[in-house]
């Protein structure tokens, strides 16, 4: 295997032992990015020169005998929703095209502090609104498994960069499934940490009560290593949990579920799910039972309300958060001709700078929050949120984790749902409940659907601040797949993608 096909864990060990330099590893990725980007388009900005300089600096520190962490010198791609000084942050939007942020996101500071090398910024649906990355103002990302298909969204760039070997790790953000759904459809691993477990400082806000940064990777241990780097209390985020992060790396390495109680969510499956998705999900549940877990069917009746409640709460919060794009302090300004008023300039700028989906959600949120409709829409959605949380609380009294498919279908074709907002929204049917309740949740590959040969994701949901349980079950799922295949998902990716 060449350097780009190794896990982040292996690369970190090779760099630490001096067997290869971070510069060699970084150069290999920079070269591969140049080769495949015309087809995949994972990146909005490649920061090759600075990445190579960062790699060289890590090599010098290691040569001088400095002891660094397990991911020192390992390259990473960062979703373009996080601020990183010296590179543009666009959020996939014309309204922020070319914007250079004046400060780093906390998670960016932490990966730099761990000696990691930032390769660039990855493509995303505009302001993280979408499930296919087709809403990026700068063109879609293509799924490395099949270039005619979507890589998921909103973090399609971060997932495709992993599946296409353009980075061994990436950072994502998850508001309704934007880490987990792209992981599922690209055969990679993605975890949404407990809300408050990772800092939102420097994450451009869509829906503040739901947004959460998290790790994207190709192996469970890689995801855990990155999780450990970015997690933990941050005084810059008022919703950051002032407690130590759970031991996710230790949990990822257990790879055993004997004695665990695993609940299959009755409401997340059945009609509307691809046969191949159901088949791989069922096989994995059976394998976990064989490995010694107790499998229980659990009913969460209010999960049926989650999608509807989400499409009231998220646009409401987004319409308020995106009011900051007013053409006055940063970003695009259109129509400032000396005659137009500030308000006219705002209207013209927001018309030119926002895409269709962003406008749709701002208008929907403005409606849901408007006087006379507030109780019916936003107020009801908040009550539904209470009911969904109560379902989780009751379930976690009976079981350690809940499981479901991550998405109802495998990767759909580019263009297939772009003119049907409701069909697009349904891609997040299974992932949304964990955003509403704030609990930890991850997606892990469980093989390929027989009908189309595309990856299927398995979702593990754990109680708040029990992110370790997500990784423990994820590790067992990974080891199950390796037993069936006789090789790793990483090897499968190398065989099947660009």
């Amino acid at each position: 295997m060449s350097l780009i096909h190794e896990s982040a864990e292996t690369l970190g060990a090779l760099i630490a032992s001096g067997d290869v330099s971070s510069r060699e590893v970084t150069q290999a990725h920079v070269d591969h990015i140049a080769a495949v980007e015309p087809d995949i388009h994972s990146y909005l900005y490649v920061d090759a020169e600075r990445a190579l300089a960062q790699a060289k600096a890590v090599d010098s520190r290691l040569a001088a005998g400095e002891k660094l962490g397990p991911l020192a010198g390992v390259p990473i791609a960062v979703k373009d929703v996080f601020t990183y000084v010296g590179a543009p942050t666009t959020c996939g939007s014309r309204i922020l095209e070319g914007w250079m942020p004046p400060y780093n996101a906390t998670v960016v500071d932490r990966i730099l502090g761990a000696g990691m090398v930032i390769l660039g910024k990855t493509n995303m649906d505009e302001f993280a609104m979408g499930s296919s990355t087709e809403n990026s103002a700068f063109g879609p990302t293509h799924n490395p498994w099949d270039l005619a298909r979507i890589p998921g969204g909103s973090g399609g760039g971060s997932a495709a960069a992993l599946a296409g070997f353009e980075a061994p790790l990436s950072l994502g953000s998850d508001t309704g499934g934007s880490i987990r759904q792209p992981a599922a459809v690209t055969g990679t691993v993605g975890v949404k940490p407990t809300y408050g477990g990772t800092s939102r400082y420097g994450l451009v806000a869509m829906a503040s009560s739901l947004d959460q940064p998290g790790p994207c990777a190709r192996t469970v241990t890689d995801a855990a290593l990155l999780h450990a780097v970015i997690a933990g209390y941050d005084p810059h985020d008022s919703t950051s949990i002032p407690a130590p992060a759970p031991d996710v790396v230790g949990a990822a390495r257990v790879r055993d579920v004997a004695g665990m109680r695993i609940g299959v969510v009755k409401e997340l499956g059945g009609e509307g799910y691809d046969p191949g998705v159901k088949q791989r999900f069922q096989e994995t549940v059976e394998a976990l039972a064989l490995a010694g877990a107790e499998i229980v069917e659990v009913s969460c009746p209010h999960f049926d309300l989650a999608l509807g409640a989400y499409y009231l709460i998220m646009p409401s919060e987004a319409s308020s958060n995106l009011a900051r794009f007013d053409a006055m302090r940063y970003g695009l300004r259109v129509g400032d001709d000396g005659n137009n008023s500030a308000e006219q300039v705002m209207r013209l700028t927001r018309r030119a700078g926002f895409g269709q989906e962003v406008k749709r959600r701002i208008i929907l949120g403005t409606y849901a929050l408007s006087s006379g409709y507030y109780d019916e829409y936003y107020g009801s959605a908040q009550k539904a949120r209470t009911l969904i949380i109560a379902d989780f609380t009751a379930a976690f009294e009976k079981v350690d984790v809940l499981v479901s498919p991550t998405t109802p279908t495998t990767a759909f074709k580019l263009g297939e749902r772009i003119n049907d907002p409701l069909a697009m929204y349904k891609a997040d049917l299974c992932t949304i409940p964990s955003n509403m309740a704030g609990n930890a949740s991850g997606s892990f590959p469980v093989g390929l659907a027989p009908e189309d040969g595309l990856p299927v994701g398995f979702q593990v949901m754990a109680p708040p601040m029990r992110d370790d349980l997500v990784y423990r079950v994820g590790g067992a799922v990974e080891s199950t797949l390796e037993d069936v295949w006789g090789h790793t998902m990483l090897a499968q990716l190398a065989k099947e993608t660009r």
């Binding site: 914007w99 250079m100 942020p101 004046p102 400060y103 809300y195 408050g196 009560s209 005084p235 008022s238 919703t239 949990i241 209010h302 049926d304 309300l305 999608l307 509807g308 409640a309 499409y311 009231l312 009011a323 053409a327 006055m328 302090r329 940063y330 970003g331 695009l332 300004r333 400032d336 000396g338 008023s341 500030a342 308000e343 705002m346 209207r347 927001r350 018309r351 926002f354 406008k359 749709r360 701002i362 208008i363 929907l364 403005t366 409606y367 408007s370 829409y377 107020g379 959605a381 908040q382 009550k383 539904a384 949120r385 209470t386 949380i389 907002p421 409701l422 509403m436 704030g438 708040p464």
Partner: protein
Amino acid sequence: MPLSASDVAHLADLARIEMTDEELTLLSGQLDVILSAVASVSAAAGDDVAPTSHALALTNVFRQDVVAPSLPAESVLAAAPAVEEGRFRVPQILGEEI
């Protein structure tokens, strides 16, 4: 009650987004579809259920009132669409003749 194009025009006005008639018509149709799909939420939420605005039980957090370094003005103004004398320059806000 279905949303009309003029209802959407009012919302676009509140949201400060200029829209064409075609956009207003398209959006009113799409919003109707979305709103009818989420109608079950209003039906399910009874008076006995308390609303949740946030998954975590949180109280507001204040930092200590001590002086700390802030971003230098130049680095903030560097990203502004227009700057004059070390300040953001904005279009007229009071409608006066220039």
